[in-house]
Amino acid sequence: MAEALSNRLHALRTERGLTQAALAELAGVTRKTINTVENGVFIPSTLLALKLSRALGVPVEEIFSLAGE
């Protein structure tokens, strides 16, 4: 079973020209949350993953994937 989660949050955010604070505002979370998810320090809940996916306008699978896949 894979235990690590990869994410493309930083890439997707910068592609859209968003700062961490701007994405945080769109998703209704704090900049700290965006920062920790981007750095892989924090693995988000399904709820937060869906909020981020909605804020970026992409499916969850495009942001997160199991490491090594």
């Binding site: 930083h10 604070a21 945080a24 505002e25 769109l26 998703a27 209704g28 979370v29 704090t30 900049r31 700290k32 949350t33 920062n35 920790t36 981007e38 750095n39 320090v41 924090f42 988000p44 809940s45 709820l47 937060l48």
Partner: protein, 148 residues
């Protein structure tokens, strides 16, 4: 979507909390050092000292479990108590619990050689648990604020 003002205020307060907590934890521990270097002798001043410690412990515990900033708007408090903060709190409570258990084991061995009163034991365990939880929470929060 949340308002920019709420976001900015939550960001500022969250950073302030991360900066303040280690200072508070160290101040709290120093206060206890003074207590243990001059043990309770039943004087009136000792009652005030113990009352101050209990009041400070309750405030710190309440702040740690609820996130604090009770006078701020609910929307800001919700942001200050987001998913990452709750995860940090759970980790810090775990650290506080483990520290209190280790202190209890150490205390058990101390009592084999020197008598320790129930009040002193409670004082020590509570102080160690709270201070460790505060320090761990502050450390995690500070790391979370650091840019990638």
């Amino acid at each position: 979507m949340t308002s920019r003002t709420d976001q900015e205020m939550a960001e500022r307060l969250s950073k302030r909390r991360a900066r303040m907590l280690p200072v508070l934890a160290i101040f709290f521990l120093m206060q206890q050092t003074a207590y243990f270097s001059q043990p309770d002798t039943g004087r009136v001043v000792d009652h005030f000292r113990v009352s101050a410690w209990i009041a400070m412990s309750v405030v710190m515990l309440a702040g740690l479990t609820s996130g604090g900033f009770w006078l701020r708007p609910a929307s800001v408090r919700a942001l200050l108590d987001d998913e990452v903060t709750r995860a940090h709190r759970a980790k810090s409570m775990e650290a506080g619990f483990i520290a209190a258990m280790v202190a209890a084991i150490a205390l058990y061995f101390v009592t084999l050689f020197e008598p320790v009163s129930g009040r002193e034991a409670i004082h020590l365990l509570l102080s160690v648990g709270i201070a460790c939880a505060l320090l761990r929470f502050a450390m995690l929060e500070r790391r979370a604020h650091r840019d990638g």
